[in-house]
């Protein structure tokens, strides 16, 4: 023991010059790395904050311009929202379509994910994967024409139902995928235990499975609401009358229709339309943590 200590001290006392120099460069490299990292993160923060500045300032500016600038504070701009005939109805439409799709997606995905998680079918995972890929392609744009045509033939053009069904169909594969992951993570002994006590499949689903995977259901619901809330293409294609269009479409028409854009209206509406998804995101990440589920780990 004492021998070892003496030896250690001897080493510290007589550090060879080369090693000292290397330690110095190591320290320099470390400092450079820390500075580089800080600079990079500052640049990233700036890049991502820059476009958002306008959204933070313009709604409260008495004379909003396109440039983001320190506002001459007012809340009068929000009054313009009430004057526009379409703004409030479009928010109502967004709520209707988002809620409808979320309910449909959560219920159907939960049922399907439960069954798929508990029943062994060969090729099940491959099938889910294909559906997932298909959904990320088809709901984008590739099926624009047939979906328009399908909605026309089913008399779903210019109806909320058409938008809800189309969006739900596209969201379902991913929802099933994510929920199945939650289900796979719950021990089958919960359900078997309930079965031995005589619970029916629906009782098991309602008493045991749904409460246990509630975080998953909440995640899916919020994700579905956020997707539908922000979706533009499907309602843009399927809806004709502005009275039925959701906020996303109305907002687009506000800044593309002729004449000089009403910046007070656009800025306040943008802010108002963004708030729900931001609040929901904060809610979910606070309550359940924003984790990655499904597919990703494979």
């Amino acid at each position: 023991m004492t021998v070892g200590q003496e030896h250690d001290q001897a080493v510290t006392r007589a550090v060879p010059p080369a090693r000292a120099a290397r330690a110095d460069t190591g320290r320099v490299r470390h400092a450079m790395g820390a500075i580089g990292r800080a600079t990079f993160l500052a640049a990233v923060a700036g890049f991502f904050a820059l476009p958002l500045l306008w959204l933070a300032t313009a709604p409260f500016d008495a004379h909003p311009t396109i440039t983001a600038s320190f506002p001459e504070f007012t809340l009068n701009n929000f009054r313009s929202l009430l004057d526009n005939p379409y703004v409030l109805t479009s928010l109502g439409n967004s709520v209707l379509q988002a809620a409808g799709s979320a309910v449909l997606v959560v219920v159907l995905a939960a049922l399907a994910a439960y069954a798929l998680s508990r029943v062994r079918i060969p090729g099940r995972d491959a099938l889910l994967y294909v559906l997932l890929l298909l959904s990320s392609v088809v709901t984008g744009t590739a099926a624009m024409v047939p979906i328009f045509e399908l909605a026309t033939r089913l008399n779903l053009i210019d109806t909320h139902l058409g938008v809800v069904l189309t969006l739900s169909g596209g969201l379902l594969p991913a929802a099933i995928f994510i929920l199945k992951d939650f289900m796979d993570g719950t021990p089958t002994s919960y359900e078997e235990s309930a079965r031995v006590f005589g619970a029916s499949p629906l009782q098991i689903l309602w008493h045991i499975v749904v409460p246990v995977i509630r975080p998953g259901l909440a995640t899916i619901a919020v994700w579905a609401v956020a997707s539908v809330w922000g979706s533009f293409l499907t309602p843009f294609i399927l809806l004709r009358s502005p009275e039925k269009s959701p906020g996303a479409v109305i907002l687009y028409t506000l800044y593309t229709e002729g004449g000089s854009p009403r910046l007070d209206l656009i800025s306040t509406f943008s802010l108002l339309y963004s708030l729900p998804v931001v609040l929901m995101y904060i809610f979910v990440s606070r309550k359940y943590g924003f984790r990655f589920h499904g597919g990703i780990k494979r």
Binding site: E192, V196, F197, G198, H207
Partner: protein, 354 residues
């Protein structure tokens, strides 16, 4: 009474987890299904519960043929290895769950849950969630939930395996006392032979979907019916040494032993003797295994001594258990002297000693 007749469970792919099995378990009996992992014991338990459907054969509980009944209508309660307590329900709700399924009014089932909980010293914990309980407490909640619905049969899947070593001993005693008090027919699965020996009234030792031996713990321990059971039962493995009958004596690993009953001349047999029935001598004897002490293991109140025995038939390891003040020094010569009345002889893996 539980009776199994020709019970077979074959999984897709042709694996027979349970293979044409017959078994009778008496009323009020505490019965262990013991075997190494993959021997089909858990599948058998789940088949009795109704969680698996048998490929063929019949199961009766009491006078009812339950083979085709769903689990909920067999009047059994099962405690799972991970206890399967519902994480979103508190202890009361967990214990009362079977009664909720039976549509017992809320007030009544909560009273019943509280009563069962107090019997298992859980009264302080009624409002807690499973996540806030220790392993031992979780196990008792699971037991309480099984007791609360007054089944005719309890099924326990590895009831002690999720507890740490010290808790396991306590829980063993507790479980045995509880079963005695309730006097409900209980079948439990374990891979730990000491658990089976300690708790069960009778044990079925299983291997590859078949029952190798059924008997009381003493029977199974003292007269294993096959070399498989012999090597599986006992904290220290039984000495199993090849022997041959010659000139009216049994020659085993250099030792010349008196001929046991049931064997004839010229036969090749396996000689079995537990290390506990082997004495150690420091002087040479002909009816003993002569060798060198290679390892001495401290078992607390005794020592397990391993001898390296070299003879015509090759090198063998012979083990003996000696009292705590009689341990030999490693490396020295020693003779392991068998106690003849305890010796067992196996031919083709089967017991021939009458």
């Amino acid at each position: 009474m539980i009776s199994l007749h020709g019970l077979t469970k074959e999984f897709p792919g042709g694996v027979k987890a349970v293979d044409a099995l017959d078994l009778e378990i008496a009323d009020g009996e505490f019965f262990a299904l013991l075997g190494p992992s993959g021997c089909g014991k858990t599948t058998l338990l789940r088949t009795i519960a109704g969680l698996e459907t048998p490929t063929s054969g019949r199961i009766t509980i009491g006078n009812n043929d339950v083979t085709g009944l769903p689990p909920g209508r067999r009047d059994v309660a099962m405690v799972f290895q991970d206890y399967a307590l519902f994480p979103h329900m508190d202890v009361t709700a967990n214990i009362a769950y079977p009664l909720r399924i039976k549509k017992v009014p809320r007030a009544e089932r909560e009273a019943k849950a509280a009563q069962t909980a107090s019997r298992l010293s859980l009264s302080e914990l009624l409002a807690r969630r499973p996540g806030q309980l220790s392993g031992g407490q979780q196990q008792r909640v699971a037991l309480a939930r099984a007791i609360a619905c007054h089944p005719t049969v309890f099924l326990f899947d590895e009831p002690l395996s999720n507890l740490d070593a010290r808790m396991r001993l306590e829980a063993r005693t507790f479980l045995k006392r509880l079963q005695r008090e309730l006097a409900v027919t209980t079948v439990f699965v374990t891979h730990d032979q000491s658990e089976a020996l300690a708790m069960a009234d009778r044990i079925a030792v299983m291997s590859a979907g078949r029952i190798m031996q059924v008997g009381t713990p003493s029977e199974v321990f003292q007269r294993p019916s096959s070399t498989f059971v012999a090597s599986f039962i006992g904290s220290t493995p039984m000495n199993l040494l090849p022997g041959v009958v010659k000139d009216g004596t049994l020659r085993v690993a250099g030792a010349v032993l008196p001929l046991p009953e049931g064997v004839a001349g010229g036969e090749e047999v396996v000689y079995g003797l537990r290390p506990e029935y082997m004495d150690l001598s420091v002087t040479a004897r002909e009816d003993a295994f002569a060798g060198h002490v290679s390892v001495v293991e401290n078992l607390g109140t005794s020592f397990l001594v391993t001898l390296e025995v070299t003879c015509d038939s090759g090198e063998h390891l012979v083990q003996a258990v000696v009292p705590e003040d009689a341990e030999p020094a490693p490396g020295g010569a020693a003779w392991a002297v068998p106690r003849h009345p305890r010796a067992l002889v196996y031919r083709d893996g089967e017991l021939v000693t009458p």
